[in-house]
Amino acid sequence: MEDGTFLTDDFLRQLINVGEVDILVGLPTHNNARTIGSIVQTIRSGILRSFPRERAVIINADGGSRDGTPDLVRAVAIDDARPASNLYALRTLHVIGTKYANAPHNGVALRTILAAAELLRAKACIVVSPEFESIQPDSISNLLHPVYNEGFDLVSPTYRRHKFDGLLMTNLLYPMIRALYGIRIRESYMTEFGFSGRVGSQFLGQNNWSDSVGENGVELRFTLAAISGGFRICQSFLGEKEHVERRAADLVPTLRQTVGVLFSALESGFDIWSPVSGSQPVPTIGSDPDVLLDPLRVNRKRLREMFTTGVNELESVFQSILSPSTLTELHAIDALGEEEFRYPAQLWVKTVYEFAAAYRKSVINRDHIIQALAPLFRGRVFTFLVENRNGSANDVANNIEALCLEFERLKPYLLEIWKSKQ
């Protein structure tokens, strides 16, 4: 799609009819008929309850659903052409949509939503995942209110999650972004978030949308852009987030969209993150992030095996990426029995930092670097599971905090290897 003309005429006509809005809810979908009905009802309730006076629109960016998802979204519109509706509302609630492709693509969906937000001059916007089934009307307010009423530019979510959910977030993204940028955002790879028209427009204008990399991992890219741009950021508690089973094969694409995006952003943002030391909490609306402790079945043995296989099979790759001492330590822990195996925090942080530096220097193909991180991450996850197996919520929080501090403590090491030629 050509820049500037990627919105269809039909969608543009719909936007003209909507006109300026105060509130915009973006809803990227693709075959979500099972969940979308209740989610859009909740969104509507949240708007009517908390923003009954504001001009609002729900924008459905659909990746070619074949299960009637767009129809289910449109059904929650409130307008005067449906006199049978007994729903009370002060004003029209618009629901418009566009089908941008025949396959889902978060980047295209977000770009569509951002473009709509800019054209409609939306003051406060949110994006909601079509899979967030436990969403409550208050969640809508919690995301919108800080932007609409308090002048924040980005509202990052926090959730009540199972202690073993979001392990990439807790073991890498959160501590590393915190250490590098000095800002404690728990969920930087956001599936639900709020933002101001201001930050939306800036991101829309600056992100390289014609580059497919620019569209991958767009959620994290958005967070990093807000941080780098010095926008006002806060967190908002959205309640419980359901545990989603992931296949092992999903890890590499996920790493590309998260760690790959982060490593890539470090290059251009060096001047911003390099002088930062320590970290500061961001204002949090509602409860603090919380963890659920109920038993969860995880195949730790498989994780351990994948770690060992990776360390052995990727030896030559690791030699290009890791320092000799780190590689030696990896071999040492790999030799440990299952009961004794631990991937300690210090070694994990050094590993990640060395991967980041290697990525910057493109010591090998960058995608191979990201792929090579996968088995090591599994080893780290194994350790996290073991260390927190019987841990209380406090124990888990303390362990994550300790890891964060380790990332902060070793940041000079990253700066050192970042600048070195080797």
Binding site: Q14, N17, E20, R53, R55, D80, P83, Y88, R91
Partner: protein, 546 residues
């Protein structure tokens, strides 16, 4: 159509509402009077109005601006004599202007001789002309209307040591319509004025005529029986005269007041008015279309009466709590502007004196189904004075000129019944009839023009309405049809320019003729009809197949 002989004249009327006291003072005592009003009938004719609604002018202690009547068969001496009233009536009729007067059926003043007799002893023959009780606990389910001043619908009468029923102020005891003598007497009152030649009555507070235990004492079947009886007598003895209901109710509750063309000819559409203001502020047609969708069909001979502002507060009784809060915040942030459940402000100040918004609201008033009522002074954009108590701030003297007392009276200013508006924006030096007459583009001349265009076709007073629902919700568009005539109205409720696509395919082949400038617009085809409208702009198109 001959408005003087047509029995449905009220459907084509443009009603001008005025209080005698406020309009023009002929004898220099500081109070408007009938002879002063007569002198200004040319003005009403010039404006284009063809019906005059006079607020209460009967003898009264004036504790509720005349709605507390102390004698139904005379006029208040401040306003002149019965003969003076007859002169107004005759002069108006000569100009083709009908005269509608106020009739307060529900209650009298506590100074009325009937009540004085009734309270004098429990055995007085007139005792049963009012509603008495030994306790103040009867009719518990009845709401209090004047919440700001009244704590109960019962008031203690120390003379006869019992409570009397009043739905409005405590000095306005309700008549007992269960008493046949009251019914007969009130018909005699109406007959007195009908024989004199008045063309219609605005019957005040009709839902409250009858009380029954276990009900909310509003809209009771017995009330409808009374109205039907009055209507039957009216049609029998005075055909062509009109009854207009003041019943501040939801449309579905109002519908029975039309009966089967055997109760009221007209009724105010109270819930529509605040929603027009709401739709304007929201820039969203939904409140307007929604209430009109809920408005039931009425018999062909009946008519809604529409208004933007009147002598009362902008009533917010027929809105939800959410809507009321919104209206207060948008139109009456200053709490002194609020009264009871409403906003005591005039049209121009409500709309921030924005000429475009005034024109848009007037355009809707003139083109939606019903008979429009213009409150005196709104045609020149008069302001209000919220420092005056109750609703007196919207009842200040008419501003005729920029000279002495605004041309209203030759009295010393201190003797005027109410102070003139003096502020720099709305004061009479800036806003007055003479200066607006001289300005081609004044609000007065614009109002005159829209009345003229409205009167150029019967479709507005008598035609059906069909809403178009363009995807642009800021646009309120509808078709008015009568016989082979179709008029398209397109209103932009937004402060910004808008584009709108209208589905006019059923009218394919017609050209649109803009009704003010008579210019041709493109022919309607298969494709959506694209229009662009400036901020708050309104189009009236006549459709014509050529």
């Amino acid at each position: 159509m001959n408005p003087n002989t047509d029995a449905l004249w009220y459907k084509d009327a443009i009603i001008y509402q005025v209080h005698v006291r406020t309009f023009h003072d002929s004898n220099g005592d500081g109070i408007g009077d009938f002879l002063g009003l007569e002198q200004k009938l040319d003005y009403l004719q010039e404006l284009g109005t063809n019906a005059l609604w006079l607020m209460p002018f009967f003898p009264s202690p004036l504790r509720d601006d005349g709605y507390d009547i102390a004698d139904y068969d005379s006029v208040h001496p401040s306003y002149g004599t019965l003969d003076d009233f007859r002169k107004v009536l005759d002069s108006a009729h000569k100009r083709g202007i009908r005269v509608i007067i106020e009739m307060v059926l529900n209650h009298t003043s506590d100074q009325h001789p009937w009540f004085q007799e009734a309270r004098s002893s429990q055995n007085n023959p007139r005792r049963d002309w009012y509603v008495w009780s030994d306790t103040d606990t009867r009719y518990k389910g009845t709401r209090i209307i004047f919440l700001d001043t009244e704590k109960s619908n019962w008031a203690w009468d120390p003379d006869s040591k019992s409570f009397y029923w009043h739905r409005f102020f405590n000095h306005q005891p309700d008549l007992n319509w269960d008493n046949p003598a009251v019914r007969e007497q009130m018909w005699n009152v109406m007959k007195f004025w009908l024989e004199m030649g008045v063309d219609g009555f605005r019957l005040d507070a009709v839902p409250y005529l009858v009380e029954r235990e276990g009900t909310n004492c509003e809209n009771l079947p017995e009330t409808h029986t009374i109205i039907k009886d009055l209507r039957r007598r009216l049609d029998e003895h005075f055909p062509g005269r009109m009854l207009l209901a003041e019943a501040n109710q939801w449309p579905a509750d109002l519908r029975p007041y039309f009966g089967n063309s055997d109760e009221f000819h007209m009724a105010f559409h109270f819930p529509l008015m605040p929603r027009m203001f709401m739709g304007l502020k929201l820039e969203d047609r939904k409140p307007i279309t929604e209430i009109l969708q809920q408005t039931p069909e009425i018999p062909p001979s009946c008519q809604w009466s529409l208004f933007l502002r009147n002598h009362d507060e902008l009533t917010l009784e027929m809105v939800t709590d959410l809507e009321r809060d919104y209206m207060y915040d948008m139109y009456a942030q200053n709490k002194t502007m609020r009264l009871n459940l409403g906003i005591r402000r005039r049209l121009a100040p409500l709309l921030n004196n924005d000429r475009r918004r005034i024109e848009l609201m007037t355009s809707m008033l003139m083109s939606l189904p019903g008979t429009p009522i213009i409150y005196y002074g709104d045609e020149i954009g008069m302001g209000d004075n919220i420092s005056l108590g109750d609703r007196n701030g919207v009842r200040t003297p008419m501003q005729w000129t920029g000279g002495w007392n605004a041309g209203f009276s030759t009295a010393d200013p201190e003797r005027l019944y109410a102070p003139l508006i003096h502020d720099p924006v709305y004061g009479y030096p800036a806003v007055n009839v003479v200066s607006q007459r001289e300005s081609e583009h004044s609000l007065f001349h614009w109002t005159q023009r829209i009345i003229e265009v409205r009167k150029s076709t019967a479709v507005f007073g008598r035609g059906s309405i069909e809403f178009l629902y363009p995807a642009n919700h800021r646009i309120l568009a509808y078709l008015r049809r009568l016989g082979s005539e179709t008029v398209l109205i397109v209103n932009n409720l937004s402060s910004a320019a808008q584009a709108v696509e209208l589905d006019l395919r059923p009218h394919k082949g017609n050209v649109l003729i803009e009704m003010f400038g008579k210019n041709l617009f493109p022919r309607v085809g298969e494709l959506p009809y694209l229009l662009t409208l400036g901020p708050y702009q309104s189009y009236w198109f006549r459709m014509r197949r050529v």
